[in-house]
């Protein structure tokens, strides 16, 4: 068994290496991830690189179109849009990443719990997930943020909940599939801690389907987060979240269209980068689809 484990490990790592090699060769995917990381770095560095403070009001230069002094122009209070966009990236991006992270944590717990105990625990969890899945995801996010109120942490939770059922399902399916092979053997021979089996065998095996749905999940969540802020829930103006900025600029759209165009473009670029990367990951995992 020891030897077998080793063989499997070698197979796993080489599988992972081919995956990485294919992914590196995929130009759109690399381009996508570079876009995304650039935006992340810009957001992290925003206090350093922003030309103005994101809350710095300057009524003398309000509603100015893009210029050398204000690359993206200024808003109705004379705040520099470039600075607000850079700073807003912190909210928009972290909402996407943290919500999916939270959703993954919850679903790792639920999925393995469910697949692991089986029986009525499994049925109960799965039925509840069924019901959650039968409500459109953004509706759940809306209800959750209505219930939890606005604010950063609450919005993360509101966005994470609707993602849980999908991931939990993937994990549970993986668990059931693998437990049929390994579980019997391991449990009888070692009566080794079930939890250990779970962490050692199930999770590493589930990474492939999860990584695809997680990347795409971050993309969808960035979109949902901005939609939530746009309709006045989630993160709210004057916080410079991109969706909230759009919502606040609507009234000025007719005469100052750059105020709505620019935040939208940033949302789109972020999601585009993630989707390109996600596509690449999927192709790298299943290269046959490409040719």
């Amino acid at each position: 068994m020891h030897r077998e484990d080793k063989v499997k490990k070698i197979k796993k790592t080489s599988e992972f290496k081919t995956f990485l090699r294919r992914l590196r060769k995929n130009k759109p995917a690399m381009f996508g991830i570079i876009i995304f990381f650039t935006l992340v770095v810009l957001a992290i560095l925003s206090p350093v690189i922003s030309p103005y403070g994101y809350e710095q009001i300057d009524m003398t230069s309000k509603l100015q179109g893009p210029s050398a002094a204000h690359l993206f122009g200024t808003d109705q209070l004379g705040r520099d849009l470039l600075s607000r966009i850079l700073y807003g990236g912190r909210y928009s991006l972290s909402l996407g990443i943290l919500s999916i992270g939270l959703a993954l944590l919850i679903s790792i717990f639920l999925g393995s719990f469910s697949g692991f105990f089986g029986g009525w625990v499994d049925s109960l969890i799965m039925r509840i997930l069924d019901v959650i899945q039968s409500i459109p995801s953004i509706l759940i996010a809306i209800i959750m943020s209505a219930v939890l109120g606005s604010g950063f942490v609450m919005t993360i939770i509101a966005l994470a909940i609707p993602c849980v059922s999908g991931y939990a399902r993937v994990l549970r399916a993986q668990f059931l599939q693998i437990s049929q092979v390994e579980y019997v053997e391991a449990a009888t021979s070692l009566s080794c801690s079930k939890f250990k089996i779970m962490m050692k065998h199930i999770l590493p095996n589930a990474w492939a389907p999860l990584i695809v749905s997680a990347t795409m999940g971050v993309a969808t969540t960035v979109l949902n987060a901005s939609a939530l802020s746009f309709i006045g829930l989630g993160i709210q103006s004057p916080t410079p979240e991109w969706g909230a900025m759009l919502s606040a600029s609507r009234d000025y759209m007719r005469d100052y269209p750059y105020m709505v165009i620019i935040p939208g473009i940033f949302i789109m670029i972020t999601v585009l980068g993630l989707n390109m990367f996600g596509d690449g990951v999927r192709d790298a995992l299943d290269p046959k689809l490409k040719d």
Binding site: R22, K25, P287, D291
Partner: protein, 331 residues
């Protein structure tokens, strides 16, 4: 035997795939021929290029990924590789049919099995829908499936039954050549014998030529007239069944036979031959088998040697077969 009698003649066929930016040399200069009513077995490990040979004959290689680099395939004197797609449509299923390896996935899951057989008939024979249906039911009957299962879907059949359906479909238009690609590999052992017997009986009944692709040497002994041993996309030894079974010359063929008695469990793995078949993306420069061959000399790794006649039609591509044979005697 005169040239005219040769029904199918494959000459110097070479096929390559492009995948992931790498060129994979699947078939490298393969030649063989087969007469009407005769059976040729292509024997070799998985991945040796046998299926690619069959698919090239039928012209159903994947368009984008595969490319026939060179060679000719003559059927009754016409080169199939030069035939137009429309001409090929008339040949596929009519003159040449194919039975596939995995019956579980080879049938369209959302079409009734009967309709799938009738479809072939309707394409090639000018018959009414009703007649095609009746003929299809007859074909089912012929392979031992009750007529009333015409309207069943593939998932309602077992693996062996599905393979029968596929055979019925392949034979529906009385083809002159049947390509059977590992028709029994995916089946239970007990079912394997039945299916092989059926293919054999139907071959005799229809006087078809049969190219059987397999790695099961037992089946070959049962059914074949000629045998071609395929390794890394090349025929390394070719001859009548007796030649190959009684006087194998190539070290690979010998190793194949040596592999059988020692293996009690898994015949098709051939684990006794040390090493792995070469990566078809990076074939060795010399003899492809040289890295695994116990008799390999330095010269073997540098240059290939062509098939050389051993006796009559029996030929072998090993440059040292005489020495080796002298040293070891017959198996």
């Amino acid at each position: 035997m005169s040239e005219n009698n040769i029904f199918l003649k494959v000459r110097d066929l070479a096929v390559e795939y492009t995948s992931d930016g790498k060129v994979i040399h699947a078939v490298n200069g393969v030649s063989f021929s087969i007469d009407r009513g005769k059976t040729l077995a292509l024997v070799g490990e998985t991945g040796a290029g046998k299926t690619t040979i069959a698919k090239s004959i039928l012209g159903i290689l994947p368009d984008r990924a595969a490319r026939i680099r060179k060679g000719q395939i003559y059927l009754d004197g016409t080169d199939l590789l030069k035939a137009s797609e429309n001409e090929m449509l008339k040949i596929r299923g009519r003159k040449i049919s194919m039975v596939f390896q995995d019956p579980m996935t080879a049938l369209n899951p959302i079409m009734k099995v009967g309709s799938q057989i009738a479809e072939t008939i309707r394409i090639h024979d000018a018959v009414s829908k009703k007649e095609a249906k009746k003929k299809a039911a007859d074909m089912l009957n012929l392979v031992g499936i009750p007529r009333n299962r015409y309207n069943n879907y593939p998932h309602e059949f077992s693996g062996g039954m599905k393979q029968r359906v596929i055979i019925a479909m392949a034979l529906a238009c009385r083809p002159e050549l049947l390509l059977a690609d590992e028709p029994t590999t995916a089946l239970d052992v007990t079912i394997q014998a039945q299916v092989i017997k059926m293919i054999k009986d139907l071959r005799d009944q229809f006087n078809m030529a049969l190219i059987l692709i397999t790695h099961d040497l037992g089946v070959v002994a049962d059914i074949a007239d000629d045998v071609a041993v395929v390794y890394a996309g090349e025929i390394v030894e070719y001859g009548s069944k007796e030649d190959i079974y009684l006087h194998p010359k190539h070290p690979y063929t010998k190793a194949l036979f040596n592999a059988i008695p020692n293996l009690e469990t898994d015949v098709d793995r051939l684990e006794n031959i040390k090493g792995l078949p070469p990566d078809p993306a990076q074939l060795p420069e010399g003899c492809c088998f040289s890295p695994r061959c116990t008799y390999a000399l330095e010269a073997c790794t540098r240059a290939k040697s062509a098939l050389a006649t051993v006796e009559n039609r029996h030929c072998c591509s090993c440059s040292r077969w005489k020495e080796i044979d002298g040293g070891n005697g017959h198996e």
